[in-house]
């Protein structure tokens, strides 16, 4: 784990509260606005930031994140700008862990080694690459670990006894438990089932387990946060950005309404274990 990630989860454990992991799309609705959103996230209650890297063909994402990615690409978002966002954020905050999330092809075209070096230099802590399962670890995971960057793996309801050890191998930072079989922003997870699955995985590993997919409200976040080490919210944030736009352009409400939503869900996460 990077020092930032280790420190963050240690601090949360001390405070006995789950992490609030916020996903948003880099470059949506434009570069400047998304930097403002990113810089406001920690104060609004985000403990870990997932910075989305747009891809033309996001096969595990629902309509909200698909549309956000297309908006960002239209505004010229790419990997150099993603790193610029991280650098801008690090000017004021050297504690909040940043995890890049996206698909492999843009990284492969950029060059895997160069991607990792530039990410490390910019102040990134880890990555979640949706279409790189453990079978493909040589591509990016192993080189990332050798640079002390976290490679965060997804576990899902289809991850059975046989599969779990493979998923846990080489995972670092935290494990992202995808609470439903499906795409981002789909049906809401059932807290009881999630708690059972989390307990099951916890028996096999010491790394923190954050749960996401379909979590949209403070109440849901609180329910999930009772069992998990962290709650991930993405589509709800991305949808709030989308709803604030006029003709795909930011309005004066874009940053404020997005951060207000984050703050309201953060409240749910903070009270999860009270």
């Amino acid at each position: 784990m990077t020092q930032r990630m280790t420190n963050r989860f240690a601090k949360l454990a001390e405070e006995n509260r789950p992490a609030f992991v916020t996903y948003f799309m880099g470059g949506d609705p434009d570069f400047k606005t998304s930097v403002e959103i990113m810089k406001g996230l920690p104060k609004a209650g985000a403990d870990v930031i997932e910075l989305g890297m747009p891809f033309s063909d996001p096969m595990a994402d629902g309509p909200s994140i698909q549309a956000a990615g297309l908006r960002a690409l239209k505004q010229g978002q790419n990997l150099p700008r993603t790193f610029d966002m991280v650098r801008a954020f690090r000017e004021d905050d050297d504690e909040t862990p940043i995890v890049l999330m996206g698909y492999y092809n843009p990284i492969y075209q950029y060059g895997s080694e160069k991607f990792l070096d530039d990410a490390k230099e910019a102040g990134v802590d880890g990555m979640i690459i949706v279409d790189l399962p453990p079978e493909m670890d040589e591509e990016l995971c192993i080189p990332a670990l050798s640079r002390d960057l976290n490679f965060i793996r997804l576990a899902t309801p289809t991850t059975d006894e046989k599969r779990l050890p493979k998923v846990l191998s080489n995972t670092s930072g935290f494990l992202y438990y995808v609470s439903i079989n499906g795409i981002t922003g789909a049906a809401a997870p059932k807290p009881d089932e999630v708690a059972k699955s989390v307990a099951h995985i916890k028996a096999k590993t010491d790394i923190p387990i954050c749960v996401g997919f379909g979590v949209r409200s403070a109440e849901q976040a609180a329910a999930i946060g009772r069992a998990a080490d962290g709650v991930v919210v993405g589509s709800a944030i991305v949808s709030t950005v989308a709803n604030s736009l006029k003709d795909n352009k930011p309005t004066k409400n874009t940053v404020s309404s997005t951060l207000e939503l984050v703050a309201s869900i953060a409240e749910g996460v903070r009270t999860a274990r009270h």
């Binding site: 891809f55 063909d57 096969m59 843009p106 492969y108 399962p133 079978e135 289809t158 079989n181």
Partner: protein, 405 residues
């Protein structure tokens, strides 16, 4: 990219599901257990005499295999060079080679205890073949089809509905095959427990490229016997169109180690390779990762996938099966583009000279034959895969020729 020639071109993929650097399993974790289960099921099935004999029975009595090879006498005379033969997979039940793969996969779905079938389709030929086998085996079937293709292939849309399939018109992206495949993958991730994804081409995560190739190789196996019976020897050249590349790999694979056989794959050159309205991923693309595999892709400098464009909905895909990428890099197969206009001319030529209305996909292969045959000796032999019939395309052709039907 140059890759050292292997001892055999017919041993792939390796244990990681790769042909050289191509192929692999680039999918979301949710799908991995399912893909490994499919791998296991297929490894068992291909060694099971019961599975093989059931497939053989269906190929013969349901599809009408073997499909004949046909000496195109008037076309040969017209071109004045090599003898041109067609492998006539357009005569199959459902009108194209797609049924070969669908029968194999539906038997796998049955063995795996799946209860629902999903498929993507471009021209609608694979959608029709999927809907057909789903009806035959009593499964509900959902077909994802780009909105643009739903419009330009409307006869096939109605055929699928008659066969009981549901059609989901996909408006994301440019509304063509790539976008349909994204939606099918999203459905699969959501319904992974009970759903079998019947991929229509020799692409996607391992083991799909391998198993689709194996089910389509019936084309090349039959062809090898038939041409030897007709001519007493192997052909000098094979030609087939490539979109995803399933009909081509089916014809090519049994011949890959026959050095004397020159092999040509024909890509959709659309309106020309200088612009962005084409689908020539091998000629104009570069290696990348999409839809579960590493392969040649049409993409921009930053790895965002570009939309292809072709008059033929079935070739309108920015990727290609990974084995073709490897065959290109090893130099075993030549891949060349054919423009929309050339395919249209070849389409009309075949109608008038041989009384066969071909699909627009093999019309691309035919246009390449029209170029090559005259430069060859009269005792040389070309076999072209006539992999689909053109009934579905008459509206598109009429529109392109400016004729109101």
């Amino acid at each position: 990219m140059n890759v050292q020639s292997p001892n055999s071109f017919r041993n792939g993929p390796d244990e990681e599901g790769q042909f050289g650097i191509f192929g692999g399993r680039f999918v979301a974790e949710t799908l991995m257990p399912n893909i490994l289960e499919l791998d296991e099921a297929y490894a068992k099935a291909k060694k099971d005499p019961e599975f093989l004999s059931e497939l053989e029975y269906l190929n013969k009595h349901y599809t009408g295999r073997p499909s004949p090879i046909y000496f195109a006498e008037r076309l040969t005379e017209h071109l004045g060079g090599a003898k041109v033969y067609f492998k006539r997979d357009e005569l199959n039940h459902t009108g194209s080679h797609k049924i070969n793969n669908c029968l194999g996969q539906i038997l796998l779905a049955k063995r795996m205890g799946k209860t629902r079938i999903i498929a993507e389709t471009g021209a609608g030929q694979h959608g029709v073949a999927s809907a057909t086998v789903a009806a035959r085996f009593g499964y509900p079937c959902m077909v994802y089809m780009g909105a643009k293709d739903v419009h330009r292939q409307s006869p096939n849309v109605f055929r699928m509905k008659l066969l009981g399939a549901e059609i989901e018109s996909v408006t994301a992206g440019a509304g063509t095959l790539k976008d349909a495949m994204n939606e099918a993958l999203r459905d699969w991730v959501t319904n992974v427990e009970d759903t079998y994804y019947l991929i229509g081409t020799a692409a996607g995560p391992h083991p799909y490229p391998e198993l689709v190739r194996d089910f389509q190789s019936v084309i090349g196996k039959e062809c090898r016997e038939q041409i030897q019976e007709a001519e007493g020897r192997l052909p000098d050249m094979l030609v087939a169109s490539v979109g995803g590349g399933s009909n081509a790999i089916g014809l090519f694979h049994p011949f890959l180690d026959d050095e004397s056989v020159q092999i040509v794959g024909v890509e959709a050159g659309g309106k020309g390779l200088e612009g962005d309205e084409h689908c020539a991923s091998l000629t104009a693309g570069r290696p990348g990762v999409l839809h579960g595999n590493r392969t040649y892709l049409l993409q921009d400098a930053e790895g965002q996938i570009e939309e292809g464009a072709s008059i033929s909905a079935g070739l309108d895909y920015p990727g290609i099966g990974p084995e073709h990428s490897w065959l290109k890099d090893t130099g075993r197969v030549d891949y060349v583009p054919i423009m929309d206009t050339e395919a249209l001319e070849a389409f009309q030529l075949l109608c008038r000279l041989e009384g066969i209305i071909p699909a627009l996909e093999p019309s691309h292969a035919l246009a390449e034959v029209v170029k090559r045959a005259p430069t060859m000796d009269k005792d040389q032999i070309i076999v072209m895969n006539l992999c689909g019939r053109g009934d579905k395309d008459v509206h598109t052709v009429a529109e392109a020729l400016g004729i109101k039907v």
